[in-house]
């Protein structure tokens, strides 16, 4: 604030001095003018009277001639003063308002407000750079989970959407280029509660430099960047410790799984869906010939996935530079072009152009030419939702959805991401088994997933894992209700990360060690009970032994006496 005040005062120096001088001339002059009181004696105003008269005259309030009617000399001086002071005020107020409307001043004020809002954030928050479709979705998703957000966007037009944003957690926006290190610092990257930086701007180079800047400024925060070119990915991977997400590749991986491991894909969709929602359908993409309409970057990623699965495919594009050698040049809207690409014997079609209406039209034409088709459609603009829904596609690619999904998973539940990567190496039977266990536990809905860490700073963990009482703390104890150990908690341990070793679906009797991290899937509320267990040495002792330990000094003393008596009797 002081910076703005200094700026204001410096710019207003001349108007203020003008006003002081004008007032001084008017007041002192008026006090010197000879006047006459009602009894006819010569009279002069005191300085205070003159100041009072000038105060109401200069501000055009005008109470009249106070305290006595004026002499002509006084009126003459008043006439001069009125013009002088009114001009003085007009000049000063004009300068003040001009400065207040000045873009630089407003920017300084906005920046100050933004920094104050960031400073007031006490909970973990994410910095989201770029407020396009993906940025908006990500902010909403992070807000839903309970994270505050700080948004950086260069385009005032896009930033306007943030004004009407209704969030539960605080969210601050600054119109600025996140490539500037000072901007990232203003956004709070060095603050201890900054959880991560996500670069979602439109350009690969911009995202790349934001990610590098963020990494340099803070070694602790998580950094995620969206890049669409292999070059940018390589650069960022060379820096290390940066999550790189290419939405096209992510979708291509999913398509590959739909072709090869539909059950694993279903498990993945299920675990990463919105908790409480209906489980997603099992998607199995058919093997056979595929037609790709629109051979841009997305089309190429899909083609690579199909190629990796060993399937034949033909691509269509109207742009010669996209088409290359192997593609067909032409509009996929035309029937003969689709025929040429082999639609009549195709198993699936990917409508991947960057115009939503065209994608819908391509799907309709293709369906007319071939009855049973597996349809993958791309949605480009968020506003065209109904168009894409009308296509009733088997798989949809919406960049902002894929991006949000992937970012939230990587940033907020890294352990789930690790589990899913490991799951991809398993077979369909394994995946069906896991899905069955989850269904038995939480029913036919998407479970909550969470990670529990055996953090030795928690009282219960310290007691159980450092004093090493018998029997030792095991995973099964985390699956019991700390209020009633006979009641099982509705949760399935999916992954145990112990000493850098991954254990998929760990056994219940696995003893826990300090620093272990466990991924659970289960009902809402179980996480809270588990955290309570780990924070309470009494609860841990109860779960281990089945006996509620005495909590007071007197109770412990009595208990020790009883134990001694009991052992004495047996001995």
């Amino acid at each position: 604030m002081t910076d703005i005040l200094i700026l204001l005062l410096r710019r207003l120096r001349t108007p203020i001095i003008t006003l002081i001088v004008v007032y001084a001339i008017a007041v002192i002059g008026l006090a010197l003018m000879p006047g006459v009181d009602p009894e006819g004696r010569p009279w002069r105003m005191t300085l205070f009277d003159a100041f009072y008269v000038m105060s109401y005259t200069a501000t055009t309030i005008g109470f009249g001639e106070v305290p006595y009617p004026y002499s002509y000399a006084q009126r003459l001086w008043m006439t001069v003063s009125i013009y002088l002071t009114v001009i003085g005020w007009a000049y000063t107020l004009g300068s003040v308002f001009g400065l207040a409307r000045h873009p630089a001043f407003r920017a300084a004020l906005g920046r100050h407000r933004f920094e104050a809002r960031v400073r007031r954030m006490t909970d973990p928050f994410f910095i989201v750079c770029g407020y396009g479709q993906s940025g908006r979705k990500l902010v909403a998703a992070l807000d839903e989970i309970g994270f505050a957000t700080v948004v950086l966007e260069t385009d005032p037009e896009r930033a306007r959407a943030h004004l009407v944003l209704d969030t539960r957690q605080p969210s601050a926006l600054l119109i600025a280029d996140a490539r500037g290190p000072d901007i990232l610092e203003a956004a709070g990257i060095r603050r201890p509660n900054c959880a991560g930086v996500v670069a979602l701007t439109s350009g690969d180079e911009i995202n790349q430099s934001i990610a590098i800047g963020a990494r340099v400024l803070s070694r602790e925060v998580q950094v995620l960047a969206r890049v669409k070119s292999p070059g940018a990915r390589e650069t960022l991977e060379a820096i290390g410790d940066v999550f790189v997400v290419n939405p096209f590749e992510t979708f291509a991986v999913n398509l590959g799984m739909a072709l090869a491991q539909p059950d694993v894909l279903r498990l993945e969709d299920w675990l990463s869906g919105v908790p409480g929602a209906k489980p997603p359908p099992r998607i199995e993409a058919p093997r056979g010939h595929w037609v790709i309409a629109g051979y841009g970057r997305f089309g190429h990623s899909v083609a690579a996935a199909l190629g990796a699965a060993g399937l034949s495919h033909k691509a269509i594009d109207i742009d010669r530079s996209h088409c290359g050698e192997e593609g067909i040049l032409g509009s996929a809207l035309a029937e003969e072009v689709l025929r040429k690409a082999g639609i009549e014997e195709a198993a699936g079609i990917v409508a991947a152009t960057d115009v939503d209406a065209n994608n819908l039209a391509i799907v309709n034409t293709a369906r007319r030419l071939k009855r049973r088709l597996f349809v993958v459609i791309r949605q480009n603009l968020a506003g065209n939702r109904s168009l894409i829904e009308a296509a009733r596609a088997d798989m949809e690619f919406v960049q902002s959805v894929v991006m949000t999904h992937e970012s939230v998973q990587l940033l907020t539940t890294p352990l789930l991401n690790r589990f899913l990567l490991l799951a991809r190496r398993q077979n369909g039977v394994w995946a069906v088994g896991v899905a069955g266990r989850i269904r038995d536990t939480v029913g036919d809905q998407v479970p909550h997933t969470w990670a529990i860490e055996c953090d030795a700073s928690l009282l219960g963990v310290r007691h159980a894992l450092e004093e090493l009482p018998e029997p030792p703390l095991a995973l099964s104890h985390l699956l019991m209700d700390p209020d009633d150990r006979l009641r099982a908690l509705k949760a399935v341990p999916l992954l145990l990360l112990s000493n850098g070793r991954d254990v998929l679906l760990p056994d219940e009797h696995t003893p826990l060690r300090p620093g272990d991290r466990i991924l659970f899937a289960g009902e809402a509320g179980v996480e809270g009970l588990q955290r309570r267990t780990l924070a309470d040495d009494g609860a841990i002792d109860y779960l281990r032994t089945g006996r509620d330990p005495p909590r007071t000094w007197l109770g412990r003393w009595l208990m020790a006496r009883q134990d001694a008596a009991a052992s004495g009797r047996t001995a």
Partner: protein, 127 residues
């Protein structure tokens, strides 16, 4: 020679000299202290204070602080004078004049510091 420095210096010294002029004389004798001189001191001090706005250096902050003190003291003196003569209708001789002049004496001290600061800063610059 820098015109801004000349104006700045002139106002700082003028604040001091006018203040001194008003202050000097028997402390409770109204004949030795003219009201217009007090008014002029106040005006010049206000201008000097405005001129000091916007300097971010440490010495600039102290400069501004001394002016603030002087202005507050002079405003207090003016209000006391106004109140005594116009509201309480007391004679200016004696107690009232002594209060006004001693308040302006405080402002004089602040103005003296201001001048000393300016001289000190100037000497440091040239050396």
């Amino acid at each position: 020679m820098n015109l801004e420095k000349v104006i700045f210096g002139a106002f700082v010294i003028l604040s001091f000299t006018l203040n001194f002029g008003f202050f000097i004389g028997e402390i409770d004798n109204p004949k030795h202290h003219h009201e217009l001189e007090l008014a002029a001191t106040l005006v010049v001090n206000l201008i000097a204070m405005t001129l000091k706005f916007g300097d971010r250096t440490h010495i600039g902050a102290i400069h501004l602080a001394t002016s603030l003190v002087a202005v507050i003291q002079l405003l207090a003196a003016s209000v006391v004078w106004m109140w005594a003569t116009q509201v309480a209708r007391m004679p200016t001789e004696g107690e009232v004049m002594a209060t006004v002049v001693s308040l302006s004496g405080g402002a004089l001290a602040a103005n003296f510091i201001s001048v000393a600061l300016m001289i000190g800063e100037t000497l440091r610059r040239t050396r």
